[in-house]
Amino acid sequence: MSSLVAAESRSIEPGGRELNLLTTRRLRALAAALSLLMLAGTIEIVIDASVGHSPLVPRSPSIANWLGFAGERLGYRVFLIALLVLTGSYAGMLALAAGSRRQVISTRWAIALVAALELIVFAGPILLSTDVFSYIAYARMAVLHGVNPYIHGPHSIFGDPIYKYVGSDWRKVATAYGPIYTLLTYPLAVLGIKGAVWGAKTQALLASAGTLALTWRCARVRGLDPKLALLIVGLNPLYFVYGLGGAHNDLIMTLLMMVAVALTFAGREAWSGASLMIGGLVKATAIVPLPFMILSRRRPAPLIGALLAGLLGAALAMAAFGVNGLDVISALNRDAGFVSTDSFPTEIAHLVGKPGIFPVDHDLLKGALVLIVLYLMWRTWRGYDWVAASGWTLLAIAVTSTWLLAWYTLWTLPLAAASRDRRLLAATLAIQALFIVHQNAPLLAPVS
C-alpha cells in the first residue's frame, strides 16, 4: 500500500511541479506589474510636482524643473489617484512577499525597486511640506545671522532669501527640533538656498538608506524575513513620498532609533542608550524606546550610555544655543497644543458632534497616553518585546496627537518591521491606511 502511494506520488509530482512553476510565474508577473505600477505612480507624482508650485507642492527654489517637461501642475486628483495606486500596489507586494514560500520577489528585485523609488523621489522637488525650508532657515539664522533659533522664529531674518519659502504658520515659531539636529543642519547654511535643499534631501536619503539597512539587519537577527522587513518600510508610500519627498528629519530620528535597536541586538547596550539619547536631541520622540530598553535589559549600561550622551549633548547645546537649546519640554508643550484636521482626536470630536478639540481634550489625551505607556512598561517588565512596546508607544503618540502629519506615522514602521509582535505591524499599517483614506475628500468632491 505504501509503495503504491509512493508510486502515485512520483507520477503526480512532475505535474505538481509544473503547476507550482506556473503559479510562481503568475505571481512573479503580478509582482512585476505591481512594481511597474509603483514606479509609474511615483514618476507621475515627481514629474507633475516638478512643474512648480501647487496646493501639494510648496513654493520652492527651482531644483528639479527640468523634470517637469512632460508634466502638468500636480493637483489633488492626480496625486490622490497615484497615492491610492501606490498604496494598493504596496499592499499587493507585501501580500506576495509574506504569503508565499516561493521566491516571488527576489532579494535583488526588492532592493532595486526600493532604491529606484527612493532615487526618483530624491531627484524631484520638495513634496507636500515646507518643513525643510524651516530647517534651512533655522540653520541660516544661527550660522549667517547670529540669531538663536531657539528664541526667535524665521521672521527675524525676513530679508533672507529662504524666508519666502518658510510656511506661513511657522514664520514666527522658534525651532522645536533638538539641538543636535540644528547643529547637523549648520553645513546647509553655507551652501546657498538650492545647495541647502539638496543637502537636506541628501541627509534624508542617507538616513532613509541607513534605516532600511538596519531594518533588514534587525529583522534577520530576530529570525524574521529581512526582505519582507525591507519591503514593509521601503515600499511604504507614506515613507518615500511624504517622508523622503519632504526631506523630513524624522528619517534621521528613525535611523538613530534603528541604530539603537541594532546595537542592543549586538550586545552594545551603552552605545545603544547613547544613540537613543542623541536621537532624542534630534527629535524628542526618538527617546521613547529608552525606558523600554532599560526595563527589558535590566542592566545599567543603556542608562549610563544615555546619560553620558545626554551630558555631552547638553554641553554642546548650551555652548551653541544657551539654555534655550535644552528647553525641549516647552517646545513639546507648545506643539502639543496645535490641532490638525487629519488628527484622530479631531475626527473623533467630529464623530461625537463637537466642532473640534477643546483644552480639556488635550488633558484627556495626555492622560490616556500616560496610561498606555505605563501599561506597556509593565508588559515589558513582564517579558514583552521592548521593540514592540516602543513601537506601540510611538503609535499611541501619533494617534493621540491632535497634530498628526503623515510622517509621524512613520516613526513606528521600522520598529514594527523588526518586531516579533505582528499585531504592531497590522495596527501601524491600519493607521496609515486610515490616514490615506482621510485624504480623499478632494478626490470625491473637488473644489475648483
Partner: protein, 188 residues
Amino acid sequence: MSGPMDARANNAGRRGVGARVPGWARPLSNERGGSGSLRLAENTIVILFGLLLAVATVNDLVGQTHVNHRLAADLRTWRTVTGHDYRNLDIEQDIKTYTSRDVVCGNVSPGAPGERTQLCLVFEGSVVAGKRAISGGYYLPPKVTDAAENRYSCFGTAASSGLCGRSSPPAGAPPAPAFKTGLGPPPK
C-alpha cells in the same frame, strides 16, 4: 512561549528583584506562556479602538466631502452671478462658530489675485442645483486684508450684522452695486 527560559526568568525573579513583589509585578525575561487571555483582551481593545477610528475617519471623510461640495457650489455661484470665470478666488469658512456660512472674494475686474477691488459674497443655506444662496456681501479695496476696517458697501446680512467698518467707498473705487440675495439672477 513557555519553556526553560521562562522557568529561569521566573526563578530569577523570585530570588532577586522580584522576591518580595506579587506575581503580577515580578520581572520576566520572556513573556509567559498562557498569557492568552491577556492577549485576547489586548486584541479586543485594539480592534474596538481601530473600529472607532475607522468609523470616525469615514464620518470625517463624508463630512469633508459635503463641505467640499458646498465650497464648490459657492465658487460656482460667485462666478455665475459676477460673470467672471476667475480661477483664483479666496474662500473663507466660518471656523469660529462652525456654521455653513462661507465668504468668497474675487476681483471685480481682471488682474492678479487681490490686485483689484474685491467683491466678497456671503453664502448660507444648502446647495440647490449646484448653487448656494447669497445672503449678503461687501467690497474691499485692492491689496488689503479682509478686515472690518477695509470693508464697504455692505448689503444683505453683511449690512445687518455690521460687517463694514467704512461708511463709504474709497476715492476712485469702481461702482459697488448690491447683489440680490437668495438664488436670484445677477443685477443688471
